[in-house]
Subunit: 278 residues, 2 copies
Amino acid sequence: MIEYKKIIDKRLIELFNKKDLPYQILIDAALYAVDTTAKRIRPLLILSCVKSYDQDISIAIDPACAIELVHTYSLIHDDLPCMDDDDFRRGKPTLHKKYPEWVAVLTGDYLLNYAFEIVLNIKNLSEKQILELARTLSKNSCNLLAGQTVDLVSENKKIDFETLNFMHLNKTASLFVAAIDFAAIILNLDSKKRENLNIFAKKLGFIFQIQDDILDNQSVDNSDEILKKSTYISILGLEKSNTVLSNLKQECLNLLKDLNLKKNYLNDLTLKIFERTS
Amino acid sequence: MIEYKKIIDKRLIELFNKKDLPYQILIDAALYAVDTTAKRIRPLLILSCVKSYDQDISIAIDPACAIELVHTYSLIHDDLPCMDDDDFRRGKPTLHKKYPEWVAVLTGDYLLNYAFEIVLNIKNLSEKQILELARTLSKNSCNLLAGQTVDLVSENKKIDFETLNFMHLNKTASLFVAAIDFAAIILNLDSKKRENLNIFAKKLGFIFQIQDDILDNQSVDNSDEILKKSTYISILGLEKSNTVLSNLKQECLNLLKDLNLKKNYLNDLTLKIFERTS
């Protein structure tokens, strides 16, 4: 998996290999934002899904990078002073701390735009597939914004379980879903398989967010508590959250089993996500 | 033309006819931003170009709205405190004055995303045409950002004429180009006609920006002067700017003449733009 992460890291940097442009600051800022110790989970989901069907990953690299760019844009805007107001991300200053704030806003915009440009100009896929990829991106990227909005609206407020689930599904699971749907489109899978993979991605996204809630709950400077955010822990309690988590994990593994994948890549990545501690 | 503006205004409002959503604030803010006294020049460029070829405009309405959404998103982000810090736009409070600032950032993001979603899901066009529309949108939307960036980088700085032209071409002309290219794609025009229309759109965008510079120069609270921005006037002087403007106008009219359009709509809109005083 480390090998695939390196491929993604390298390609992401290549995508911003532009010099001496009148708007160079935007490119430099984008490079600063993508050149991180990020785990690249969303791109790895795509590549490991493609590999699990024993197919060549080369065609999936740019779509995978596009999803990571959308993820990165959402973090840049999330970190802004008017939102979460974070000074650090992954151990280095957030973009608006490194550059003037306007650069952070426009770099976020640029990454979102560029993600569409990359997807719309993929080589070696049919027009139908490219359209499906772009539609998947726009739909899930809108969903991501819906989730971010509910998250911000819910600060200092107690929300109900239904709203919490809406938030988690949209804020976190939407790009997991986009990643797995991307793989399914590239692989030209039948609708039954696509549906099962889609359900798997939603559950995995949920797992990831509940883990986040639990990890934040254990940390010294619990930002959720500081911002008085509703979380799985605050609504269900730790014990019940852990039960939901175990059930979801089992459901994910069952779904993967039913898919009869040729290789273990997606299974391995899923197990890695289950075990994460940060 | 007023009739077509009404069609655009109505459709823009319809596009946000959503109620009781968990992220309703985003929809309400989007509606506030699009429901204005805006001139709708970019959408009108599309519709009048389609009408000039004596074709039905119904298929062009949603693409026209998509361009207006991208224009609106760029204004919302431009108005933010970290950018131009404007309190009013078209006589009413800017979005970040009406709503919390985070709503303005995310609404801008949402409008950009939604523009892609609209274009990617247009009915009654071929997959090839939809792809061409989406590619045109992503390319010009990236160009728009390049122009915005150069504009902000150039504050309090004297820039050269080449950089000024780059800025104007990208910041202002890019969505004029997108609009006219959209019409050419919808009309399935041959490459020669597309090229001529594209050159026409670039020149018209330039004209629009030089007019802006001249109008700002005449206004009491000249924001360009306040922000020490380089403009056509500050670099070329008023007289030379007016000469450039007249030459560009003549070139635009010549291009339109060479295109042998069946109807006068695009010609009429162009003449209206030439005469604008605000």
